[in-house]
Structure formats: C-alpha cells, structure tokens
Symmetry: C2
C-alpha cells in the first residue's frame, strides 16, 4: 500500500459530462463560464470540448467557439476529444494543446459503438497520432469498458492491458481506464489495474470511473492504494445517459476531492469553489446535482 | 489485509430507516411486510422497532404491534432499540430476543441529544443491562459520532475506544460504530477502528456508516480490509433526516451487498430480493430510492 502524495484530477464535466445532456443546446457562454470557473477553482486539466460531428453529438457542436472563448489560464491544460482526423484538424485550428482518442476493451462494445473492431479502431487512429505528433499536440488515450461491457459482460484484464499498451505504443502519453457502465468493484478494479500496470507504467495511467452502482469511490480508494495518481471526474457528477436506468454519470469531482482530502493527498483544487460551481451549473441546466458532498455542503459552501 | 470470508448484515431500515420518516404514520402492516420481506430475502438480523415514547418518535409508536405481527422466521434475530428501562420492559413484553442501547462518542452530542454526559448515559443503562441479562436478552451497543460530531467536530479515536469498551464491560455482546453524520473518510475510519480494536475484539465490532458525503462504501472497504465482519445498513438507504441538507441516510443494503459480492464475501442475502423490496417500500412511502444499485437494476430485478 503506497498512496500517492499528489493526485492530478482531470475534470471531464464540460465534455463527458455535457455531451449527452438532453434538452436544448447549452449556450456556448455557459460552457465557457463552466470551464473558466473550474480552472479558477484550481483544476489544472480540463477536458473542454469534443471535435465531433454535431450530427452525432449536438451538444458539442460549438467546440471551436468554446475553445476560442475560454480564458486559457497559465498552467492549465485544456483538452478535447477527437474521434478522427477531421476532429484533430478542428482541434488544431482551435489551438487545442491536447487531444484524446478512445478505444474499447470489449470487441462487442467497439462493434456496437463505433462499428469496427478494436484493431481497426486503433489502425484508424494511426494518421491522427502522426499528425498530432507533427503538430506538437499531446494525445491521451481512453480505454472504455475496462470493468465490464453491456453486451459482452466480463472483460479479461489482459485484454484491457493489451489495448492500453497498443495506445501507449502509438504515442499516447497517458491511458485513462474507463469503467463505462460503472459496474466494477474494488478487487476487480485492483486486479485490472495490476494487469495493465505490467504493460504501462503506473505513472501513465488514470482511472475514469462511473458511479452507476455506487462503487466509484471504493474503487478509487482501491486503485489509490496501488499508487495510481490520476483521476478523471466530473463536477456535480454530470454525465451518463440521463435517459438510462440509474442515470448516474461520472464520479463527482467534489466527492473525489473530499475522499482525497481525507487521505491527505493534495490536488491543488479548492473543494468549496468546485461545490459552488457544481451548484451553479446544475441550476443552469435544471438538473439534479449528483455529488453527495455538494448536497451536504450546500450551495453557500458551508456545512 | 485480511478480508473476512463472511459478513453479517444488520438491516436497520425498519427502525433507523423509518423512525424519522416525515408525513403520516406508516401503517403497522407496511412495517410488518417490510420486515417479513427482508427476512425472506435472507437477512438474518433485522432491527425491527424502537420501544421509545411515541411523543418523541411517533413513527415507532406501534413497536409492540410490529413485534406481534412479524413472522419470526427461524434463524433470524429481530431486535429493537430500547433507550431506557421502560423501553426494555416493552420489548420484553413483546417477546423481543435482542435489544440495543446507544451512547455518543462526543460529549457535546450526548448533551444536545440526550441531555446528559456520556458517563451519565452509561450509568443510566446499568439497570437496563441487568434486567436484560436476567431476562436472557442480548444487548447490542451503538456508539454514535465515531467519525465526527456536528457540534464538536473531530472525535478522538481513543474516546470512541473508551466508550466502546465501557459498553462491552457493561455486557453488550457487540458494539456498532456509527458515523452518524457520514463525514468520515477511509483512513480516518481505519484509524478509529484500529484504536477501538485494541479495547474490543474485532469479532465484536460492527460498522454503522451513513452516506451523507458519499464515502460510506469506501469507508466500509477500508474497515473490511482490517477484518471487520459486521455491517449495519438500510434497504433503499432509508433513514437520515429527510429535512436536513443532503437528506442522505444509512448506507444502502443493496449497495453494500453489491460491494461484498464483488469481494467474494458471502452474506447469505439475495441481492435481487432486497432490490425488489427496496423499490416496493420506497413506492409505498413515496420517497426516493437511495440505493444506486437499486436504481441501476430497476424494480424488476434485472439490469
């Protein structure tokens, strides 16, 4: 057991959180204000947008305007999801310093979700990786369904390790391990991480856990014990499919920060400022605040 | 790290869960059906009622009728909270095989909550303990505010250990450690437990965690690693003060069972049956189901 002394939070609320939000398109200025507030709260890595066809993800149709509108605080990395070369070109044109690509650990999920095999999806990223490298842009890799697949059920940790290694070998500087359906439990998370860490250095791994079954913080505690030091989370628990059963999205940044404070792990983030931001954005969107810490502390920031 | 192979769940929903429920008094037959359903789901220890003045806790005013109405399934322990001698007499008259008493780990909480010091509260339990022993009734001890007090803030683990030891010495067979305000985090829970386990054998300790700050499952994971093997929980997360900020009650039995299944720890409880019961009772009460597992699995028991 060796907890990290510091953890880097990758705030994914503005992208993973908002991309599936139902209802009207969220105004660009709201997205920009959300990102600026999160940066002001001390978050140093914010996934701000997705350069993807607005036909598929209407909420992300203003990615370029969002990237143009935000403050660009020194020391903060603003990144964007780029599913293909066209997305990368949009991201480069919008002066995005970091992009992300994704692959599934489950063949069935890859086929259903992006209509090709895992190997084909990795192959398609090759020109994107090359162009990103030529442009001096860092690429983060997401691996989805690492603790279970809605179509295939259990996922072999060796398969997660293989896909993670492939993304690393292609040039990704960090691999984020996604429990897409939030079904994992701590020992499973630990075993999966141990398998991946044999292929990818622990310092290049991140946990991206959803809280659908309420296990996310327990799972994070288990992987922190293994020394993992990068956590993806979403302010107010934004995200998930609001139409689906459970409707639970990413683990809430506030709840993760509270856990880390209790473990004496520093993040550089002001929990109370994130709580206020989470109450503000959920009020703007007219949706439930998915952070228990935010609910306990309340919108005025005092419990 | 030595996880227990088995965990005993103490289901506190019918008492700790329902006692603060706002609105009209819940009919006795609903309480009886809840308890019978939980027993049928495999829960072998159910806190069924509280023998307390209905002036103070109107929802528990029918404790005797509840104890008379339930099925008394063989192998299941049905217990009741008895804050004083009069309560114990009521419990004995209602043929209750086990009772529970409570003390605070915080002086300020003891004064505000029961209007006397911790030492005085323990002294007052002395005749109750003697009469229970004479009647062959087991007594469980609750210690509240073990990970923080709303009036006093932090609580010294040594103080929790001292109160736990006092209850053990008075004759309690098991001490349940309550994070009343749900503010604890895993390392804190672990340190508190280590301090208590120096005074009370681990096999006689239980964790009673609330999920107000979303940390309950992570805290349980941490104390399971220490070998703790008894967990109090509440179906559908019933409980807490529905008027208070956060409104979050006891950790949900469903979420605990899901965690334990993932750790290969057996409980003898049928998770799907508890999920159905939780959906049924929250429908009856017209309240939110606080279990994420129940929300993910849905009322038909299939996810």
């Amino acid at each position: 057991m060796a907890f990290p002394q510091q953890v880097r939070i990758v705030e994914v609320g503005p992208r993973d959180g908002l991309q599936n939000e139902p209802g009207p398109i969220i105004p660009t200025e709201i997205k920009v204000e959300l990102i600026d507030r999160l940066a002001a709260a001390g978050l140093q890595h914010i996934e701000a947008a997705s350069f993807v066809s607005p036909k598929w993800v209407p909420q992300m149709g203003d990615a370029a305007a969002v990237m143009a509108g935000i403050q660009r605080r020194p020391g903060v990395t603003y990144s964007a999801l780029t599913p293909n070369l066209k997305g990368l070109e949009g991201a480069i044109a919008a002066n995005t310093p970091e992009v992300a690509v994704f692959a599934a650990a489950s063949e069935a999920f890859s086929q259903k979700n992006i209509n090709c095999s895992i190997a084909e999806s990795l192959e398609r990223f090759q020109p994107l990786m090359e162009q990103a490298q030529a442009a001096g842009i860092r690429v983060r890799g997401y691996v989805s369904t690492v603790l279970g697949c809605p179509y295939q059920g259990e996922i072999d940790p060796a398969q997660v390790a293989a896909v993670s290694r492939a993304l690393l070998d292609m040039g990704c500087y960090e691999i984020s391990l996604g429990d897409t359906i939030g079904k994992g439990t701590p020992l499973q998370a630990k075993k999966m991480l141990e398998a991946v860490a044999r292929e990818v250095p622990m310092s290049q791994l991140a946990a991206h856990f959803h809280d659908t079954y309420g296990q996310a913080l327990a799972n994070l505690y288990a992987v922190l014990e293994e020394g993992l030091a990068v956590i993806d989370s979403s302010t107010a628990g934004l995200g998930g499919c609001p139409y689906a059963k459970g409707a639970s999205g990413n683990v809430a940044t506030e709840d993760v920060l509270y856990l880390l404070e209790g473990l004496n792990i520093s993040t550089g983030v002001d929990l109370r400022a994130v709580v206020k931001t989470g109450h503000w954005i959920t009020r703007e969107l007219g949706r439930h605040n998915g952070s228990k810490v935010a609910q306990a502390i309340g919108p005025c920031g005092s419990d």
